[in-house]
């Protein structure tokens, strides 16, 4: 492994009443895509925010390039660490380009350089610059907004980027394509990424290494393969098991391309699992699913076609 960029030494964070992070020891290597995974409330966000000092630890030290965080200039630190929020939080009063140009502008880049960067970044996240540059955030879909959010964090090519459940609010299809995009960008830019998620699937898909957290305590830090082969505890193995894709948990929206369009009111939601509609399908009825991209109606034959497709790969 290459040299470490980030090191947690006996880091503790207490809030009134709770200890969010307990004696955390962790190193993150240069250029790694490091995933922090755990259930809600396990201390992931707290850990992440201690890296860019949105939260200060109660005890212990964090080193960035072997320098203690509290000894670094706060502004420089934050300009060197990109940040992507779950809430996306593109500034709604600024255009896409203005949002991306935010940090370059504070760094007094030339207009020329800023314009080039904006276009380059937009292209990198598969948004046509000409078409998207001057749009307002409200005119974009959730997936497009988060692409811009990633552009904003990466615009100055910082050595490290933090992402806090960036895709958990998106629909499954956008989520998959954004995951692909993150993998691609990471390969290309070699930025160190610390990625927080509660979804073990996502962690397995993205992580070079994965850290599993539970109630503020680190359970295991390993590659996805090691975790699959040697879970450190029952908890980890259970959590890992939850990642094995269960076909009956497939959200109904995945069936859309096999189904017929419908204008009827939905009996089930696009996010419901396939198992929820087994009974009516078994009775030979078809089911209408409410979907943002247009309702659709699915019957048993079409479900079989979907299953055949899944079995193929």
């Amino acid at each position: 492994m290459t040299k470490d960029v980030l090191r947690f030494e006996h880091v503790v964070k207490q809030f009134e009443g709770t200890t969010a992070v307990k004696d955390l020891n962790l190193t993150i290597g240069d250029g790694e895509l490091f995933v922090l995974v755990g259930a809600s409330g396990s201390g992931k966000t707290t850990t992440l925010k201690m890296i860019n000092r949105l939260i200060e630890p109660t005890d212990g030290n964090i080193y960035f390039n072997d320098k203690r965080l509290i000894d670094t200039n706060l502004r420089d630190l934050r300009w060197n660490i990109g940040y992507v929020l779950q809430q996306i939080a593109l500034f709604p009063n600024m255009t896409v380009a203005q949002n991306i140009a935010l940090i370059p502008q504070m760094k007094h880049w030339s207009k020329e350089q800023i314009r080039e960067t904006v276009d380059e970044m937009l292209t990198a996240v598969d948004l046509e610059p000409k078409q998207y540059r001057d749009r307002m955030p409200a005119e974009l879909s959730g997936g497009e907004q988060q692409r811009v959010g990633i552009c904003r964090a990466l615009a100055t090519k910082p050595p490290m980027v933090l992402m806090d459940e960036p895709f958990s609010a998106l629909d499954p299809i956008s989520r998959t394509s954004l995951q692909d995009m993150v993998l691609r960008l990471h390969k290309k830019m070699k930025t160190t990424i610390v990625f927080v998620t509660h979804d073990m699937n996502e962690a397995m898909r993205l992580g070079d290494r994965i850290a599993v957290m539970r109630e503020g305590v680190l359970q295991q830090v390993a590659t996805p393969e090691e975790i699959a082969a040697n879970p450190a505890s029952n908890f980890v193995s259970d959590f890992f098991a939850s990642a094995a894709p269960e076909v009956l948990d497939t959200p109904l929206i995945e069936l859309r391309r096999f189904a017929d369009r419908s204008t009827e009111a939905g009996e089930a939601q696009e996010g419901d699992p396939l198992r929820a509609i087994l009974t009516p399908l078994g009775e030979g009825k078809s089911v209408t699913v409410a979907c943002q991209q247009g309702n659709f109606k699915v019957n048993a034959t079409q479900v079989m076609a979907f299953l055949a497709d899944v079995a193929k790969d």
Binding site: N52, W79, Y83, L85, M94, L102
Partner: protein
């Protein structure tokens, strides 16, 4: 509607000046309020306890009745625009502060987290993100404040602050509802326009809004500075109390002064306010001349000695006493006019003739007590109804009425006697009779121009010109002139000119 249109055409010059005054007053107040409340609202973000405290204070300030606030301010800052602007600013603080505070406070914390994570400085966060995001809410507060200010600014007229309130007050005092309506409509229209204008602000980009606001400030600021700095011919400010009579008189003063000295410019401030305002405005140099009554000087402005008070009570002419008292204050009173504008006991002329009554003492001849409608104050005064009872031995069945109602009550026969003033136009209008005060109960109120002694010395030509009115204008003349203005709707300046010309005081071809 027709009447309103005619009044509008007739008054459009005044309306425009008053409108500009009103707008100036409102804009200055709004700007000051913005300059105070917005920084406070920003600052309060990180001072929650102080924010709560400020919200309470501004809330309390807002509950002070506007009239009371003006009254409280007068002893501190005097009269004119200063107390008006201060009062308006006080009212505008709450909505602007509140909306700035909540607008900023309610920004989604995710944006604040993002700003912080991107290493934005405090000013950058405020200017680039938070103020623009809070702008619609802030502008909502500014809008509320503007509408409040424009409405309340009509009260500035009460303290000599000018504005559309002058027109409204004049309408009330001249008993001309269309004039009042005109002023009120103009003020309402201004408020609507302003509110619309501000709502446009939220549609423009905020830089544009700031530019527009800046241009407005510079425009008005520049205009005001120009007015203050530009050289002018000497301007003499002549003010008058509320009502048609002072307005007619000051128009006469203007004509006479301008005839006597072509190099001065007379600025009239009709309906400038109540006696005490005018008096303090005169002493503090805000105005130069106003018509005052001898009776008022000795009864409410200055305190005569015991001996003098006794002389006045015996019915002696108060003019010499008033003059000597005023001289001690470095003020001079010009020659008094003929008419005595004092309390009067008023009855219907036809009824008086039927019963052979011309003087108050004649009322003793009637056997059944008459029904009287008196103003509350008159009813309680020693030189009012109480004096009538003691000096004349006459009693009535009294209903107290608001002074604006009494002539109508008399005219409709609801009462047979009422109090009034000897020069009221209604005496002429409703064919009434002011009974002679044969036992000299009522004090003598003779009008004369009041000015600072220094001013009189500096302007001998003008004092001489004004003294031409000494001994002129009878009660009947004044009743007639008031009638022409109040009832027939003639302008005070035309009525004044006609009188002066007819009596040879003004050369015709001017």
């Amino acid at each position: 509607m027709q009447a309103l249109w005619e009044t509008f055409l007739d008054q459009r010059g005044t309306l425009l000046t008053k409108l500009v005054e009103h707008l100036q007053l409102s804009l200055i107040a709004l700007l000051l309020a913005l300059l105070i409340a917005i920084p406070l609202g920003i600052w309060a973000q990180n001072h929650d306890r102080f924010a709560g405290f400020l919200l309470q204070v501004t809330g309390i300030l807002q509950t002070i009745p506007s009239l009371a606030l003006l009254g409280l301010l007068i002893p501190i800052v005097g009269i004119g625009t200063a107390p008006s602007i201060i009062a308006l600013v006080v009212y505008a603080l709450l909505p602007i502060f509140q909306n700035t505070y909540t607008g900023l406070h309610e920004i989604d914390p995710a944006y604040k987290e993002a700003e912080e994570a991107f290493g934005m400085s405090k000013p950058q966060r405020l200017v680039k993100v938070e103020l623009p995001l809070a702008m619609p809410v802030i502008l909502g507060g500014v809008r509320t404040a503007a509408v409040l200010i424009i409405g309340t600014a009509t009260l500035a007229a009460l303290v000599g602050g000018g504005g559309l309130g002058d027109i409204i007050m004049r309408g009330i005092n001249l008993n001309d509802p269309t004039l009042t309506l005109l002023g009120a409509l103009a003020s309402a229209l201004l408020a609507i326009l302003f509110s619309w204008f501000i709502s446009m602000f939220s549609k423009w980009r905020w830089q544009v809004s700031v530019a527009v606001l800046g241009a407005l400030v510079l425009g008005f600021g520049g205009y005001a500075t120009y007015q203050a700095v530009a050289p002018k011919p000497e301007t003499i400010v002549v003010a008058g109390k509320l009502g048609s009579e002072p307005e007619i008189l000051i128009n006469m003063y203007k004509d006479l002064i301008e005839q006597a000295d072509a190099n001065v410019n007379v600025e009239l401030k009709p309906n400038f306010g109540q006696t005490s305002f005018l008096y303090s405005a005169l002493k503090s140099d805000k105005i130069d001349i106003y018509p005052e009554f001898t009776g008022t000087v000795v009864s409410s402005l200055l305190k005569p000695s015991k001996k003098q008070a006794a002389q006045i009570a015996e019915g002696q002419d108060p003019y010499p006493i008033a003059e000597s008292l005023l001289n001690k204050q470095d003020l001079s009173l010009g020659k008094p006019m003929a008419y005595n504008n004092t309390y009067a006991v008023v009855v219907k002329k036809a009824w008086a003739e039927q019963n052979g009554i011309t003087k108050i003492s004649d009322l003793t001849k009637l056997s059944t007590p008459l029904k009287a409608g008196f103003d509350v104050e008159f009813n309680a005064r020693e030189d009012g109804y109480k004096g009538i009872q003691s000096k004349y031995g006459v009693s009535f069945t009294v209903n107290t009425l608001d002074s604006s109602m009494r002539y109508q009550a008399l005219n409709r026969g609801q009462v047979q006697v009422t109090d009034g003033y000897s020069t009221d136009s209604q005496i002429r209008q409703y064919h009434l009779l002011a009974l002679e005060d044969d036992r000299k109960l009522f004090p003598v109120y003779q009008g004369a121009p009041l000015m600072r002694t220094q001013f009189a010395k500096d302007h001998p030509k003008l004092t001489a010109a004004l003294n031409q009115l000494g001994g002129k204008i009878s009660e009947a003349d004044m009743q007639e002139m008031n009638y022409e203005v109040n009832v027939q709707g003639k302008s005070a300046s035309a009525v004044a000119k006609t009188y002066l010309t007819k009596h040879g005081l003004l050369k015709e071809a001017r």
